[in-house]
Each structure stands twice: as C-alpha cells, then as structure tokens.
Symmetry: C2
Subunit: 322 residues, 2 copies
C-alpha cells in the first residue's frame, strides 16, 4: 500500500475507563481531520450516534453501526468467548477478519481484547501474540517494547517469539534491517537476573536471524539503548505504568509547577502515554488504545492505527515465519 | 534508643559504580555535619584515607580502617562467600555482627551484599530477606516497597514474608499500627495478574496480623494508594528503575528545559533516588546505597542509616516473628 491508500478503521466505541460518547465522537472528528485518507466504522450505542451528529462529524467519512453491548474490563475469558456475540469489541475484530476494515481499535479490557483477537483472527505460525508499544527514546527515536500484558505469564520460548515479532515490527515501522534486540533485566551482566531472562537471552542469541544485544535495564527504556525490548507481559506492564506514574507526578503538579513542568517536558517524551499498543502475532491488525491516558488517547490511537495499517505488518510477519 | 543515642555507622568505601575516594570523603564530611551524633568507621583504600585528610574531616568523628579489597559487582556468590576475607564489604557486615557498629552501609553489588549479610548475620525466624526502599508518596508521605532485588525469583510464601517485614518496618518508621499492605500487580481486580501475585494476595489476606489492601498498579507507586508495596525482586527492581528512567529524562533535559524541570519537580518527589534500601530480614542492620544515584547518594544513605539505626528495627522484627 502507499500513503494514498484508503484505510478503514473499525472503532469500538464502548470500552475504556474514561471513554464517554462525547469524547469518542470528538476523537473521531479529530482523527478524520488529521488523516484525510481514513474512514471510520464506529461501533457503539445510540448515545454515541447522537454525539457524532452533535459534533458535526462529516457523515461521508464515517459509518455508525449500532452495537451497544460492552464487555466488562475483567470479564472471565470463557464468558468473553461464549457470550457477547453482538458486542462492539467482537464486531470490530470480526470486521478485520471479514476484510471490512483494515484495523480494529478498542480501549476495552486487555484480557477480552486479546482473547477475542486470538480466537477470531487466529495466531501466525504458532507465535505467542504480544502487545507492543512504541516508547520515545530521544528526538525522533523510538523503541518497541513487548509484551505489555497480553499474557499473564511467559516462558523463554514466548520471549523468543516476542523478539521475532518485535524485530519484524521494527523493520516495518523504521526500515532498519537488524534492530538491536534486548531482554529487559535487573542488570546488564550475563549472570544477572531470573532464570527466565537468562534462558530467553540464550534462545535469542542462538537465533541468527536476530541481532541480540544482551540485557537492558529499565532505567534505559527511554534512552535509545535498545530498539526492541523483550519482556514478559507482567514485567512490561509494571515497567510502563511505573514510568507513567512518575510522569504524572511531574505533570499533575499544581499551580506554577504545572506550568514549569509543561515547559520542562522534553518534546520527544510527549506522545508515549497516548500511542496505542499493537497486538502482534494475530492474523489481523488490532490496536489497544490506552484507556486511562484520557480523551486524546482514542484520537491518537486512531491515527496510529491508520498509519500502521499502511505498513503491511501482518503480511510481513507471515512471510517472516514461513 | 532515643535521638541522643550515639550511632556508629560502618561504611564500605570501596564499592559502587560512581564512587571514588574524593566523593566518599565528602559524603562522610557531609553526613557528620548533618548528624551530630554519628561516628563513622570508614573501610577503604589508602587513597580514601588521604582523601579524608584532604577534605579536613574531623578526625575525632571517624575511624579509618585499611581495607582496600573490593568485591566486583557481579562476582559469583560462592566466590563472594569463600574469598574476599578482608574486603571492605565483608568487614562492615562483620562490624555489625560483632556490635562494633550499629549499621553497615555499602554501595557495592546487591548480590554480594545480600549473600554476605545472610551468611554473616543470619536470617530472622526463617523469613526471606528483602531489600526495602522508601518511596515518596506525596508531601511528607512515604510508601515502603520490597523486594527490590535481594532475590532473583520469589514464591508466594516469600511475598508473604515481605509483607510481614514491610509492615514491621512501616510501624517502626512511621508509627502506624496497621499500614495498608498491597501486592504490586498489573490490575487492581482480584482476577488480574500472575499466579504468583494471586496466591500471595490470598496468603496475605489469610494472615490476620496484616492489613491486606489488595492489589496496586505501578502507576500508583507515588500516589499514597498503599503503605507497603510487596513484589518480587525482579519486578520491584524493574519498576523502580523505569521510574528513575523517566525522572532522568525530565531532569537531564538541556538548556532552559533543565531550569524549568528543576522548578517543576515536586519537592516531595526529590529524595527517592538517593535514599538507600534497607535489607530487612537479616539479624543486623545493612543499608544498600544506590550507587548510580551519584555523589549525594552515599551521604544520604549514611544519614538514613543513622536514622534507621535508632529505630530498633531488627529487634522489633525479631519480636514480631517469635
């Protein structure tokens, strides 16, 4: 695809902690303005339909589909798969499966989203799917970190899968053939850390299709010391949230401090809380929008989804593992 | 002990990435000025002896002991226990064991420090030792987080031990009888997370001597949502370093941004990178100074050590587990 390709984004307008109809509608409007070649299929409640009309969103650029059913964030995985047949989350993934959309976006619960995506789209080449985010690593520099919580626990073979997925994604996003793949650890020396990370590092080193760059510590997440940072979903999720916690402590300061913190924040550090995560390893493109990042998050995730949909990411991963 | 009690601190003057003789000497001088009732036994090289004289540190307040042998950060645990008989790290721990000092401070490697402390001092009541740090959680508010890397991996019983150690430490530090004990997790709902954290939460809930406050997420580490935050050493270490990484991205900004970031930083967030960690669960007081936090870190760790030594922490833990 080239940059003129029309992209259709299927948006789950029901999920997320901070998501209300009004903010979803303004996110849709914003994304359409920002990205002239996308069309959005919006799945949600009648309230959302009204909000879209109220926001005067260009009706030739979006399609509203009545799908008010919302899956609770922490619904039991079996209940997610067996029930909620008409939920907005299920339907956006089905739209990708049925080629009615190029990419699905949801800010609903990670558990339901991953379960449904694996179930409906299937996995690629037996790889373990993982949630992958772009972390800013300096002016115009990014790292990819995965897994961020698609899996509650992982073994070394899973981490090796994440390395393959992360490398392919990095190649697609940044056109770098051999990105530096690192395993997140509590030290950089070979004898440091848990049995899991040591075994994962060995597997990644033995795989000559990967450029293993050893261990990286969590204080180097934003410093361009690694291109692809591989970790289990528990650790990755904790690392990212700890980073967010500190950023918030700066940015939620009161009075003059709030003003100074806006001036102080390096521009390149700006977008990381807003970008969505891509679910890599399933046979279709699914973006998890970061619900707690606020109103801007859905709009940014829509734009990221459209950009990612132009990269042939899923097809490239398929070729890689064949 | 009361606040007039004389405290003797045994300082390992050899360890740490950023530690040179001059900065150790100025840290000693600074700590002596800040805390009139401490005496410091400084273990190190002749170079350090010269630096102490050069810095004109009051010679009645410190004692220099020639102990130039330094244990490499990532030395093999067996080699640490069998060799390095005259190392400064070993000798400061022996000084605590022999009641020649109230507390040992080292910025050497975590692995060697924990191995030697467990070996020389012994553990208390079969509890699993853990490294515990104070995290700022708002103006004049702190949380305690443990383990931060004393153990490469932990089971649920270990996390229960950490809860007991953390509660006792919180009681000693802040005179609160029933601190909120939380387990660090990727979500706050009961069904979220790894098998380890679910089992640990169950054990902590079943222990009626503890005030189990459920799960806490890593973006709430600095928000006063928990008093004691229990986690395995791998996750705790990653969480803290990720937080440091973001703080550094703010504070290492260049030019005007550096100026604004100093103004922006909430005062209460200041000290967390400098405070040492206490090794809880061994029969003697050992403080790990954070080597990479820079020159101020050793001085702050010395002061924290002196304050902690007045709290009868080890004796209180012993009583608790009897």
């Amino acid at each position: 695809m080239n940059s003129e390709t029309k992209i259709t984004v299927a948006l789950d307008g029901t999920g997320g902690d901070n998501v209300d109809a009004k903010s979803v509608a303004s996110a849709v409007r914003f994304a359409l303005v920002l990205y002239p070649n996308i069309k959005i299929k919006v799945y949600g409640s009648q309230k959302l339909k009204v909000a879209l009309a109220f926001e005067k969103v260009d009706s030739s650029r979006y399609e509203f589909i009545d799908a008010p059913e919302c899956i609770p964030q922490d619904e039991d995985p079996r209940a997610v798969l067996e029930g909620y047949r008409t939920s907005a989350m299920r339907r956006v993934i089905e739209a990708v499966k049925d080629k009615e959309a190029d990419v699905a976006v949801s800010s609903g619960g990670t558990g339901p989203l991953v379960s449904l995506s694996r179930h409906i789209l299937g996995t690629i080449g037996g790889l373990r799917p993982a949630l992958c985010a772009k972390l800013p690593a300096g002016p115009s520099k990014y790292s990819l970190m995965l897994d961020l919580g698609a899996n509650a626990s992982s073994n070394a073979k899973d981490l090796h899968d994440f390395a393959i997925l992360g490398q392919t994604a990095y190649q697609c996003f940044y056109n770098v053939s051999k990105p530096r793949v690192c395993v997140l650890n509590v030290g950089s020396e070979r004898n440091k850390g848990s049995a899991l990370v040591k075994e994962a590092r060995d597997l990644i080193e033995q795989d000559h299709s990967l450029n293993c760059y050893g261990f990286v510590e969590a204080d180097k997440l934003f410093t361009d010391d690694a291109d692809v940072i591989v970790t289990d979903g528990f650790t990755g999720n904790v690392a990212l949230k700890a980073a967010e916690g500190v950023a918030s402590a700066f940015l939620n300061a009161q009075g003059m401090k709030k003003f100074f913190s806006k001036l102080a924040r390096p521009e390149w550090l700006q977008p990381w809380q807003y970008n969505g995560s891509v679910l890599l390893g399933v046979d279709g493109l699914v973006i998890k929008s970061h619900a707690s990042a606020g109103k801007e998050a859905v709009a940014v995730a829509l734009v990221e989804a459209a950009k990612t949909a132009q990269l042939n990411l899923v097809e490239t991963i398929k070729k890689q593992v064949q």
